[in-house]
């Protein structure tokens, strides 16, 4: 199904939202090998299992036996009324039973309370599953948010982030929603790629030991290995029928000291957004639009085409090749490395606009905002623009 020519029907909710073209179209070459990432939405039911965020590690606050005010564990006296807070005795053993139910994430659509049956009490939307929205925060300066968005029934984006002995590893994959099981494919690809890249960190099975430019190319070799293993992970996703070809895009970055090495397949992107200077887009899309622009077709016309979001390379059973494009960067000043899916960059494709968006998001969150919090603000912003696709934003603070 993938090697078919591009479909005649426009991708309904994938039109570029930031540009409206009134130019007369000129004839453009027909693409030969394309994958439209989202011509509509799948008919399958979403796996809307209710997800309650629980953290078994958190100790409950201790309620004051006299006034009920909550005191931190270990407090000797109630801050509110001064009643001594003695250690639990036989007199009050059932306190354990009365732990409040874990907080349930409010409805993503309307903010209403989600009932125990898994649906919002106000608007009836299904509760977000863990797969629909998840965050990862390996440190205060490295983190990301992956979100279903507003319009899509499921989240086919995925991310995996790690800090392995000083090396920061970031992976984002965007499942192709025309192919079933792409949500599983993208998650499997991220996990496999992160594992592969981690082997290059100090003490890893494929530790990168060379210095200088050789170190960069060694990471490049590992990137190829990571993409290959990500592809294998996609191939091992169980499918219902032979013709199903779960697929996803792939972008991964390694930040090893000042060196940043990025590998990409498809149209998920990496940007370098230095604090003071001009932002840089690090990746080149493997997309029909990119090919057309390279052929000299006006960008406005390309972006309004039904094929604008068709990709020419991907991971999956029917992938033409899985060798990632490699891009490198040497960090000389503080800034943010951003990896994102088209759910974000569709609304804000230019590096400078993105720079400004990250800066204003960080500013609105105040001093000391974590990378995850800023990534969350980027996702919220994309949702506020319509959230027409899944959204993933991963940030790493570099060069400090």
């Amino acid at each position: 199904m993938v090697s078919d020519p591009a479909p005649a029907q426009p991708a309904r909710d994938e039109e570029p939202v930031d540009q409206v073209s009134s130019e007369t179209p000129v004839a453009v070459p027909q693409p030969e090998h394309l994958k439209v990432t989202d011509p509509g939405q799948p008919a399958q039911a979403p796996d809307a299992t209710a997800a309650a965020e629980t953290d078994p590690e958190v100790q409950p606050d201790v309620p004051c036996p006299s006034c009920g005010a909550l005191a931190q564990p270990g407090s000797m006296f109630c801050e509110a009324c001064g009643t001594p807070l003695t250690a639990p005795t036989q007199a009050a053993p059932p306190q354990q039973e009365q732990r409040p139910a874990p907080p349930v994430r409010p409805c993503v659509r309307c903010g209403g309370r989600v009932a125990p049956d898994g649906y919002c009490e106000e608007c009836g939307s299904p509760a977000m599953s863990e797969r629909d929205h998840f965050e990862s925060s390996p440190s205060a300066t490295v983190g990301g948010v992956c979100d279903r968005g507003v319009l899509h029934a499921r989240n086919e984006d995925a991310m995996a982030i790690g800090i392995e002995r000083g090396v920061t590893l970031l992976v984002v994959c965007d499942g192709v929603s025309t192919a079933p099981m792409s949500d599983a494919a993208s998650l499997a690809a991220c996990t496999a790629a992160l594992q592969a890249l981690a082997e290059g960190a100090p003490g890893g099975a494929q530790e990168v030991t060379s210095e200088g430019s050789a170190r960069r190319s060694d990471w490049g070799i590992l990137h190829q290995d990571a993409a290959r293993r990500a592809n294998e992970a996609v191939l091992s996703v169980p499918v219902e029928q032979e013709s199903d070809a779960p697929s996803c895009t792939y972008v991964a970055a390694v930040a090893d000291g000042q060196r940043v090495v990025v590998g990409s397949v498809g149209d998920s992107r990496a940007y370098w957004l230095p604090d003071g200077g001009t932002g840089i887009r690090l990746t080149i899309d493997d997309s029909w639009a990119q090919e057309m622009i390279e052929l000299g077709v006006p960008a406005s016309q390309v972006e309004s085409s039904p094929n604008a979001h068709a990709i020419t390379r991907w991971l999956g059973p029917d992938a033409p090749e899985v060798k990632p494009r490699l891009d490198t960067l040497t960090v000389t000043s503080p800034g943010w490395l951003l990896l994102c899916s088209d759910g974000l960059w569709n609304y804000c494709p230019g590096p400078d606009e993105l720079s400004e968006l990250v800066r204003s998001s960080a500013a609105s969150l105040g001093e000391g905002a974590t990378a995850t919090a800023i990534a969350g603000a980027l996702v919220d912003w994309a949702n506020a623009q319509g959230g027409r696709d899944n959204i993933t934003a991963v940030l790493a603070r570099l060069g400090e």
Binding site: G40, Q41, A45, D117, E121, E122, C123, S125, P126
Partner: protein, 425 residues
């Protein structure tokens, strides 16, 4: 303690742009039977038509039946006997007695039988007055008691305007259950049906006065076996949606929509009265805003509530899909009860047309009824229809009206039109 379960039957898949969600919710009560009912406070009022038309065999049989009924009522149950004509009279406890209802015990039973023997027929018929008196009597028994009444009539409600009965019924809704019975061929099926429907009871035709006693015994037996005094059906629908209707479809058809009251802005409540060990099915129709293909939404929560607590909840869902093999599927339960509702309409409209002398409409409607009865496997309806029409072709629904039909057969067909059959497995 009674246990309730809720099951939902529907095709949750909607085509792109579709907005209407239909589902059948089945509520089943278990452990709600006689054993549970034994410990429940209960009150029974028996209303006997004492209008002039009753005089003769019917009245004697009704008196006898009321006495038999007293034997069935458990000791300890609050009870009263009402005689109704154009006014309502408390027959027992005697009008000068200090309490409006008394608990059953052997002496009270014997005295009540004496009081029934002294009843005399005469006067007109104004059923709203009987029901109002029953409503007043029930206010004197403890809160939470199961309240049940029986109304027996043989004639038309001719001593008051129709609106008087309707407004009285609206006022009394939810206060007590009333099973209504018509005896003979002179009463109006629609009036008896209106009373039973509004007060959550059953309505039946008693062909011959000799059958009154058995009917009373059966009604009281069922009432005594209802261990849940009162339950409410609640339907939650999401913000921005519209609850199109809620109909009971089994064991009999009853549109609950007019009896809706607001529980909260998103939840409607419908009284369902007392429950024994039984299943009831409801057709819920909700109009929601259309969503993009792939989206899912909860369209309704159907809940059964007793004493303010939700006992069981069923979920009605909507999922938009572009797969026509999913969206075109018609749920068998929904189709079955939609057909049965149409069957009831066809019978009632056909008989009304026949009564009005419009034979063409009557033939078409009753023919459609024959066809629907066949399609939905309602053999009882088919055999009742056979008494009124000659069936030429069952599948195509071609019939001829019978020249000479027994009025009682037509009334029996009309009365039973709301009875539905369960879907065949």
């Amino acid at each position: 303690m009674a246990d309730f379960t809720a099951e939902v039957f529907q095709n949750q898949f909607l085509a792109e742009g579709a907005t209407d969600v239909h589902a059948i919710a089945r509520i089943t009560a278990t452990n709600a039977g006689a054993a549970t009912a034994g410990s429940l406070e209960a009150a029974e009022v028996i209303m006997i038509d004492t209008s002039g038309s009753m005089a003769g065999a019917s009245f004697a049989a009704a008196q006898e039946a009321a006495k038999v009924a007293l034997d069935v009522i458990n000791d300890g149950t609050w009870f009263a006997i009402v005689g109704g004509s154009h006014v309502a009279n408390r027959v027992f406890p005697y009008p000068n007695a200090p309490s409006a209802m008394v608990r059953m015990e052997p002496a009270a039973r014997a005295e009540a039988k004496r009081a029934i023997s002294m009843m005399r027929a005469g006067g007109g018929t104004a059923m709203s007055t009987w029901l109002q008196l029953a409503g007043q009597l029930f206010t004197t028994v403890p809160r939470g008691a199961r309240r049940h009444a029986i109304l027996l009539t043989d004639g038309k409600n001719e001593s008051e305007p129709k609106s008087q009965l309707t407004s009285t019924l609206t006022h009394l809704q939810g206060q007590f259950r009333c099973d209504a019975r018509g005896v003979g061929s002179r009463y109006v099926v629609a009036e008896v049906r209106e009373i039973a429907s509004a007060l959550m009871g059953s309505d039946e035709l008693i062909r011959d006065p000799s059958q009154i006693a058995a009917s009373f015994q059966a009604m009281l037996g069922e009432s005594m076996a209802r261990g849940v005094a009162d339950a409410e059906l609640r339907v939650w629908t999401p913000q921005g949606s519209e609850l199109l209707y809620v109909k009971q479809v089994s064991p009999k058809l009853d549109d609950l929509t007019p009896r809706k009251h607001v529980v909260n802005p998103l939840t409607a409540g419908f009284p369902t009265g007392a429950w024994g060990d039984e299943s009831r099915e409801y057709h819920v129709a909700v109009r929601v805003g259309s969503k993009p293909v792939g989206a899912e939404q909860l369209a309704a929560r159907v809940q059964i509530v007793t004493n303010g607590e939700v006992q069981a909840s069923g979920l009605v869902k909507a999922m938009w899909s572009s797969d026509s093999s999913l969206t075109a599927r018609i749920n068998p339960e929904v189709a079955h009860y939609t057909g049965q509702a149409e069957l009831a309409d066809a019978i009632q409209q056909g008989l009304a047309a026949k009564a009005a002398g419009d034979e063409a409409t009557a033939t078409v409607k009753l023919g459609r009824a024959v066809q629907l009865a066949k399609e939905t496997g309602n053999d009882e309806a088919t055999s009742r229809l056979r008494r009124v029409v000659e069936i030429e072709n069952e599948e195509r629904g071609t019939v001829r009206l019978k020249r000479h039909t027994d009025k009682l057969d037509e009334m029996a067909l009309d009365t039973a039109s709301t009875k539905t059959t369960r879907i065949r497995k």
